[in-house]
Symmetry: C2
Subunit: 339 residues, 2 copies
C-alpha cells in the first residue's frame, strides 16, 4: 500500500519548495511559468491531490457548503437541492448533503459533522429545532440559511414560502367549491414547522368561515405513500364521509389518490384530493393534482446566492426572503358531490 503523495513529495520531485508548490496550486500567477510547468508535471506524475484536512486547518475557507435535509427518499427537496448545488458549483463551491431521515437528534449530529469538516456555511430546512443548535452555530460563527420556510417575525436569514398563507389560499378555493366536510392528511407537525403551518393554514381558514370544527377530520402521519393510503382508508370510513381530503404534500396526496382508487372511489366525482409542493408527481398521477406550486429551482438558486453572500462576509443582519407560491388547479379538485 503505497502512501498517498504529499506536497512534500511533489516539491522534492519538482526540485522546489513546498511553498512554491502550494502557490502553483492556489495562486498560479504568482509563480513564473517555467517553475509552474515543472511543478504541474510533478503533480500529474505523482497523481497528487491536496489533503483537505490539512488545507482546512491551515487556511480558513474550504469552499464547502453543507445541506441537511429531512429525506432524500422522496422528491420534495430534490429539485431545489439540485438547483442549489448547480449554483454553488458555478460559484466554485462544493456541496455535501446529508439527510436525517426525520430522525430526531440526527440533525445536530450532522451539523457537527459538517461543521467539524470545515463547512463554510449550512443550509437547513425550516425553523423548528433545538435552540441549542442555533446557539452552537452562532458560537462557531458558521452562517446557516434556513430554506423552505419564511417567517418574517423570526430574525434569521431564510428563504422560503409562507406555508400558512399558501395553504390558506388553497383552502379558500376548496371552500369556494362548496366543500364543508374536510378531511386532512398532514405530515407530523412535531418539529416540522412547514407541516404545522400548512395544517394551521387550513384550520384558520375553515374557522374563519365559521364552519363547525367538528366537520374537520385530521390525521397526522409520517410522509410516505403507504402511510397516506392507510390514512385515506380511515378518513373514508367516516360517516358522513369528507367530500375532500387536503394533504400536507404531494406524496401524501399521491397515496390518498391511490387508496381512493383501490376503494373504488373516483376522484373528483366521489371525493376531491389536493396536495402541496407541485413536484413532478403531481402532474403524473391520475387525475393530476390540484396543489400549491413552489418555485423549487428558484429557491435553490437564490439560496445558494444568499448563503455564499453570508459566507463571504455577510454584509450584516439576517434577512428573510419570501418567494411566491401559486395555487395550481388541476383535475383532482372538483365541486362538492351531490349527495
Amino acid at each position: 500500500m503505497r502512501t498517498t503523495p504529499t506536497l512534500d513529495d511533489v516539491a522534492r520531485k519538482a526540485g522546489v519548495s513546498t511553498a512554491t508548490v502550494s502557490r502553483c496550486l492556489n495562486t498560479p500567477d504568482r509563480v513564473v511559468k517555467d517553475t509552474r510547468d515543472k511543478v504541474m508535471y510533478a503533480v500529474e506524475a505523482l497523481g497528487y491531490t491536496p489533503n483537505f484536512g490539512a488545507r482546512v486547518m491551515a487556511a480558513k475557507r474550504t469552499f464547502t457548503i453543507g445541506a441537511i435535509i429531512p429525506t432524500m427518499e422522496n422528491a420534495i427537496f430534490a429539485r431545489g437541492i439540485q438547483a442549489f448545488q448547480e449554483e454553488l458549483h458555478r460559484r466554485g463551491y462544493t456541496l455535501l448533503v446529508s439527510s436525517t431521515g426525520y430522525r430526531p437528534g440526527a440533525e445536530e449530529e450532522q451539523v457537527r459533522a459538517l461543521v467539524g469538516r470545515g463547512a463554510d456555511g449550512l443550509l437547513l430546512i425550516g425553523y423548528d429545532r433545538d435552540p441549542a443548535l442555533y446557539q452552537y452555530l452562532d458560537r462557531q460563527s458558521v452562517p446557516a440559511l434556513i430554506a423552505w420556510a419564511h417567517k418574517p417575525q423570526i430574525d434569521r436569514p431564510a428563504i422560503g414560502f409562507d406555508n400558512h398563507a399558501a395553504m390558506a389560499e388553497l383552502t379558500r378555493e376548496v371552500l369556494a367549491r362548496g366543500h364543508r366536510r374536510i378531511g386532512v392528511i398532514s405530515g407530523m407537525v412535531e418539529g416540522n414547522d412547514r407541516a404545522a403551518d400548512r395544517l394551521k393554514g387550513i384550520r384558520d381558514t375553515v374557522h374563519a368561515q365559521g364552519l363547525d370544527p367538528a366537520d374537520m377530520f385530521e390525521i397526522q402521519t409520517p410522509y410516505g405513500i403507504e402511510t397516506a393510503e392507510r390514512a385515506m382508508e380511515t378518513l373514508m370510513q367516516a360517516a358522513p364521509r369528507p367530500t375532500i381530503v387536503m394533504c400536507g404534500n404531494d406524496v401524501l396526496a399521491a397515496g390518498a389518490l391511490r387508496a381512493a382508487r383501490l376503494m373504488g372511489l373516483s376522484v373528483p366525482q366521489d371525493v376531491s384530493v389536493t396536495g402541496f409542493d407541485d413536484i413532478e408527481l403531481a402532474r403524473i398521477v391520475t387525475p393530476a393534482l390540484t396543489t400549491v406550486h413552489l418555485p423549487h429551482r428558484e429557491m435553490g438558486t437564490k439560496a445558494a446566492t444568499a448563503l455564499i453572500a453570508l459566507v463571504e462576509g455577510a454584509p450584516e443582519g439576517p434577512a428573510a426572503v419570501k418567494l411566491d407560491t401559486v395555487v395550481t388547479l388541476r383535475d383532482s379538485l372538483g365541486p362538492v358531490p351531490a349527495d
Copy 2:
C-alpha cells in the same frame, strides 16, 4: 466573532492536558471518572466540537463514506441510498453524498473532493468511467464499491444487478404477448453502462427471436419526464406504430404514459409501456407499470456492509455480488392490440 474553542481551551479550562481531553473523547474508559467529569463539563461549557480536519490529519480513519450519484432529482437512487445511509449510521459512519447531474467530468471532481476530505471509502454507480479515475483511487488506496451494476467479468468490488439479463427477461414477456413492433426509449448510453446493458438486453432478445431489426424503433434521451414525452410522441408517429414502448427506467416510462394519455391513446389497449427499477412511481401511475423490480433497500444495506468491510481492511480480493431482480407484471403491459 469569538473564535471556536479548541482542545487546548478545554484542557486549560479543565486543568488537564490536551492528551487527557482527547482520551476522554475517544477512549473514555482509559480515563478515571473524576477527571472525565471535569473534562466533559468543560466541553459542554465551551460548546466544543472537534475539528475534523485536524483529526483526519492526526488519525487515519475518518468514519466518513462518500457516495457519488448521477442525480438526486429523481427517485432512482433515493431509496437505495437512504438504506445505505441508515446502515452506515448504524455502524457509526457518516455518509456524504454528492451528485454529478450526469455532467461529464463532474465525477472526478467529486471523487477528489471526497477523498481529499478524508473519505474512508466511496460508493460509485456503475462501471463506466475514465480509467484514470480508477487508477487514482487505487493509488490513493481508497476502496471504492460499485453499485447498481454487476459484471462478473470485471474484477472490481461491486454489488448490483445484471441489467442485461433483467431486461432480457422482461423482453421475453413482451414477445410472449405477441408484440413484434417494439419501440424503445433508452437513457443515454454514453458513459452509462446500466442504460447500455438494458438496451442491449432488449436488442439481443429480439434478435435471438429472429425478428427483423427494422421493426425496432429506438430513441435515446436524457432522463426526465419531459424528454420521455417528446420521445414518445416521436415513436407514436411511426407507421405502423409500435405496439409497445419499452423504457430504460420508470421515470421515462411515466413520461411515455403521460404522452400517450395526452395523445388520446389508452394503455395498454392502444399501446403497452414498460419501465425498469420499480420505484414508487411505478405503482402510482395509471395504469400501474409493468417493470423490473430492483431490491433497492437490500442493495443499499448490503453495499454499506460490503464497503465497511473493504474499508476496515478488506479481507482481500474484490468480489462482485449479484442481487436478483424480478419482472413485475402490472397493467401497463397487455397483449398486442388487434389491428
